[in-house]
Amino acid sequence: MDWLAPFQNMPALLGGLVTTIWITIAATICSLCGAMLIILADQARLRWLRQLVRVYIEAILGIPILVLLYIVYFVLPDLGVKLGEIPSGVLTLTLYYSPYMAEVLRGALGSITTGQRDAGRMIGLSDFDILRRITVPQSIGIALPGLTGLMIGLAKDTAILSVISVQEFTYETKLVVSRTYAPFEVWTVVAATYWVLLTCLEQLTRLGEYRLNRFREMR
């Protein structure tokens, strides 16, 4: 057993970890934007647009993310869209997670009764103000647990990007393993790192959830 191996290769591993973290953040932001686009498109008057979105969602629900990754990485260049490894990865994660996030957001927005919106309109608030002051502040606390779950899933799925040689945490780990011949020790340390970071993320948002939902207790 060579428990020093993972620590001697810290710089490479940490570099990969940083890439993983910022890909997670970028893809989460893109997916949230994608989710809002989906919700908007679903309310559009154009029938073909609504149907297109529905077909897209059905397809995403049925296709494994690895297959989607290969489609983005191998098929898009044939169609004339050439992306690098990291943009392909972020695009895949965005395409895959947007429908799920849209579902969570839709549920949260739907939980605000129409009476509140009507009341807002009665006292003369604009549509945007109703969204900003009434709907979003209340629904964000409801959406947060679902969104966090998805974000953790997304963070874990960044490991898959290593198959198209995005140099993130898992990819760097594989390199270190092939250099040190200490697979068990290195993977254990890496798995522990993933676990600590993701558990912290979960606990942190639980705190945020409490703060955001605090107003409910006061009734």
């Binding site: 397809a59 049925g62 296709i63 494994p64 993310i65 690895l66 297959v67 290969y70 489609i71 191998f74 098929v75 044939d78 169609l79 953790i152 874990k156 799925d157 960044t158 490991a159 898959i160 290593s162 198959v163 898992t170 780990t173 594989k174 697979p183 068990f184 993977w187 254990t188 890496v190 798995a191 993933y194 676990w195 600590v196 993701l198 558990t199």
Partner: protein, 217 residues
């Protein structure tokens, strides 16, 4: 531009590979349901060590990527003198991972069984084991079937990860063909359809079981 001949030629290979995908899904699914049920019962057993063991298992599986778990299992098996077992490693890793999610599903379903049923069975003098087998689990199964089906489609959708330890299932076969043919869409289009088809079959099967279960009560 679209080479339909290539697509037709690769269909038999892909069909053959999808049997491996289905086998992976079924074996990993069975392992995950068995593990998940045991772990859920451990969590509700009231015995502290069992409870903590089950909690640790769930937290570990949910807190690390399946990709990493797969590689760890694959690399650990040779250490206990099991070699060339990529398929088995994939079944174990996916089953272990999904078992954590099944734990939560089954736990919720068991807790939803009315307390009075258990008390009544206890009063009649049934043993704990009989209460589990005859009263609690059958009712829990009915509640958790829709969620279990969703989990099984997730299992199906995680099987392509087995390709990283070179199990020649549907996706890996596609990658192999693609790397020789230098064209992708003709290969990955049928693969995507294949997964959607298998997921549909799963869904229909579960609907059938759901209908049968509700007929019985």
């Amino acid at each position: 531009m679209f080479n339909s001949q290539l697509m037709l030629d690769s269909l038999p290979l892909l069909a053959q590979a999808s049997t491996v995908t289905i086998k992976l899904t079924v074996f990993a699914g069975i392992l995950s349901v068995v593990l998940g049920t045991l772990s859920a019962m451990a969590q509700l057993s009231g015995q502290a060590p069992l409870k903590w063991l089950s909690r640790a298992y769930v937290s570990l599986m949910r807190g690390t990527p399946l990709f990493v778990q797969l590689l760890v299992v694959f690399l650990t098996l040779p250490m206990i003198k099991i070699d060339n077992a990529a398929f088995e490693a994939a079944v174990i890793a996916i089953g272990l991972n999904s078992g954590a999610y099944v734990t939560e599903i089954v736990r919720g379903a068991i807790m939803a069984v009315p307390r009075g049923h258990v008390e009544a069975a206890d009063a009649v003098g049934l043993s704990k084991f009989t209460i589990s087998r005859k009263i609690v689990l059958p009712q829990a199964l009915k509640t958790c079937l829709p969620a279990l089906t969703a989990e099984m489609t997730i299992v199906l959708k995680s099987t392509p990860l087995a390709s990283v330890i070179s199990v020649t299932e549907l996706t890996y076969t596609g990658v192999l063909i693609q790397s020789r043919a230098f064209t992708a869409i003709e290969i990955f289009l049928p693969i995507a359809m294949g997964y959607i088809l298998i997921a549909q079959i799963l869904l229909r099967l579960s609907r059938y079981f759901e209908a049968r279960l509700s007929l019985r009560s």
